[in-house]
């Protein structure tokens, strides 16, 4: 199953991912991304990939 991965060093707290998929991403108190789930069923791949790709600093990726 595809998984979503986050580069916590790169994250700058834009929260675009939260806007895109609020059930997968959140921010912690320091404004750094939290992955609420990592496994992405094929049926949700398009939506979660779009949310990951909306990151302005490319901190997120959905991989096989």
């Amino acid at each position: 199953m595809p998984v979503v991965k986050a580069d916590l060093q790169a994250c700058q707290g834009y929260a675009n991912c939260v806007v895109g998929a609020t059930d997968y991403f959140d921010l912690d108190d320091d404004g750094i991304v939290i992955l609420l789930r990592t496994e992405v069923p094929e049926s949700e791949r398009a939506r979660v990939t779009e949310a990951a790709r909306s990151c302005p600093v490319s901190a997120l990726v959905v991989e096989d």
Partner: protein, 485 residues
């Protein structure tokens, strides 16, 4: 120069200085003192039925996001980013879990709470530099809902909405609560007319007198069942709480007969009988009156009418419209007009009722066009120097000594609250302008300010002066509110 004190004295006597319908100085006062603290209609719950639904509505220049948050609560959020003041939502309606500012990318949940603040650590030094926790888009100072109608006030100490509406709620129910589920809206249509906002509000509040003249042609072509527009004078005007309106006299018959007469099908009548109080039913069934146009101070109006919708048929069908006279300037108004219909009405009724509304009102409605030409022309003439020499007589219904031409109906004659009279008069227009004068006279309290990203309540002051960093020196008259983390 305008002398506001003299103007208000005249208005209270029912004598209206004509220039108030096109006067920049008066308009500036209205913006501050009428629209700066009155309850103002912004939308209906049915426009945002699902979590995340929103519409963007204005209170003069101020843009508000009216959203239903993830918990189903209605919010009215000032549409200005806490960073540089950019509008965070730039579309008029939609569904969104978050709003993201296009300028620097700050983002907010649909309940207003800030989420994304890019480079918070690097740019601000994190929470030490900018307190992000607990910050939200500025909510409207007061928010109230009645029958799903959402109102905001810029006054944080506004009296509760239902207290403000008072006995006018009795009449609002005819338009907005014909069954337990209330209304749904279509629209709004928005268009601008070069007319002062007060004219429409006054006209809808009580001007039955213009119908036979202004709308002659609409009656002549047979849009209404009654052949004569003079029938208007058999109806009443009523004023209750902070609103008032007009009614038509219905022919003899039972409650059911009379509701059928204006075109309601039996299944809707059955729900009205369940929903309305005995007094509300008696105004129709016993007293024989049906609500038509109405206004709530300062700039919201209702219409209820029942034209013929099929050529060659005697059948009529009722429609309801809700509208707002949104001031743009002293000589321009944006009319925001919704079609309203009972949620439980049959689909066929809804479709025909919408057709009836579009024929009569809305941007292409026949009544609308008749009315607006008068109001535009009046506004234009009111802007010149001669208008300053004219005190218009708005005392219809009152003798020079103050006695009434027609006395109010007694409680035996009429079952509704407020003061109700049969025939033409300008009591309601005077009631609206009395409230207008009271507001213009009363200076504004200074509004509280929010200092974004700071925490004045958090302990001592680093400079040792006793002032926290959020407190602006020399601004002691301004109450500063901080948002707690």
């Amino acid at each position: 120069m305008t002398d506001p004190r003299g103007v208000l004295q005249d208005v209270r006597q029912g004598m209206i200085p004509a220039h108030i319908y096109n006067d920049k100085e008066i308009f500036e006062l209205e913006k501050e003192r009428v629209f700066g603290r009155s309850w103002l209609f912004v939308g209906h719950e049915s426009e945002v039925p699902e979590a995340g639904d929103y519409v963007v509505r204005r209170v003069l220049e101020d843009s508000f996001i009216i959203s239903r948050d993830e918990h189903g609560e209605i919010r009215a959020l000032f549409n200005m980013c806490l960073h540089r003041g950019m509008q965070v939502c730039r579309t008029e309606m939609g569904n969104a879990s978050h709003f993201r500012c296009p300028y620097h990318g700050w983002s907010y949940r649909n309940d207003g709470r800030i989420v994304g603040l890019p480079f918070h650590k690097e740019a601000y030094g994190g929470e030490e530099g900018f307190r992000k926790k607990g910050q939200t888009l500025l909510p409207a100072p007061s928010l109230g809902i009645y029958n799903g109608l959402i109102f905001v006030s810029l006054d944080p100490d506004a009296e509760p909405l239902e207290d403000f509406l008072g006995d006018f709620k009795f009449y609002m129910d005819y338009y907005t609560k014909q069954s337990g589920d209330g209304i749904e809206l279509r629209g709004p249509q928005r268009w601008r007319v070069k007319a002062n906002w007060k004219i429409g509000a006054e006209n809808f509040a009580g001007d039955m007198y213009h119908t036979p003249q202004t709308h002659t042609s609409v009656v002549e072509i047979g849009l209404f069942r009654e052949p004569k527009a003079e029938k208007r004078k058999d109806g009443t005007t009523y004023w209750a709480g902070n609103g008032g309106g007009t009614t038509y006299k219905l022919p003899e018959g039972t409650l059911e007969d009379r509701l059928r007469y204006v075109g309601y099908p039996d299944e809707m009548i059955a729900r009205m009988k369940e929903q309305w109080s005995q007094e509300q039913l008696d105004v129709v069934g016993k007293d024989g009156f049906m609500v038509s146009a109405a206004s709530v101070f300062p700039n919201m109006s209702f219409v209820h009418n029942w034209p013929r919708v099929e050529e060659g048929s005697d059948e009529v069908l009722p429609f309801i419209s809700i509208r707002q006279w949104q001031p743009i300037s002293e000589d321009e108004t944006e009319i925001v007009s919704w079609f309203a219909v009972d949620k439980n009405a049959p689909e066929e009724f809804k479709a025909l009722s919408y057709k009836a509304y579009l024929m009569c009102f809305g941007s292409g409605g026949m009544f609308e066009q008749d009315d607006v030409e008068n109001w535009v022309s009046l506004t234009s003439t009111a802007g010149g120097p001669m208008a300053r020499r004219l005190l218009l007589n708005s005392r219809m219904g009152m003798l020079e000594n103050g006695q009434n031409v027609v006395e109010p109906l007694t409680s035996e004659q009429y079952s509704g609250p407020g003061s109700t009279r049969i025939g033409y008069s300008e009591y309601n227009q005077r009631e609206l302008l009395l409230r207008w004068a009271d507001h213009l006279e009363r200076p504004m309290e200074k509004a509280a300010q929010l200092q974004v990203g700071t925490s004045p309540a958090q302990g001592g002051s680093p400079d040792g002066t006793g002032h926290s960093p959020a407190e602006r020196p020399g601004s002691s008259a301004v109450e500063t509110v901080s948002v707690e983390a």
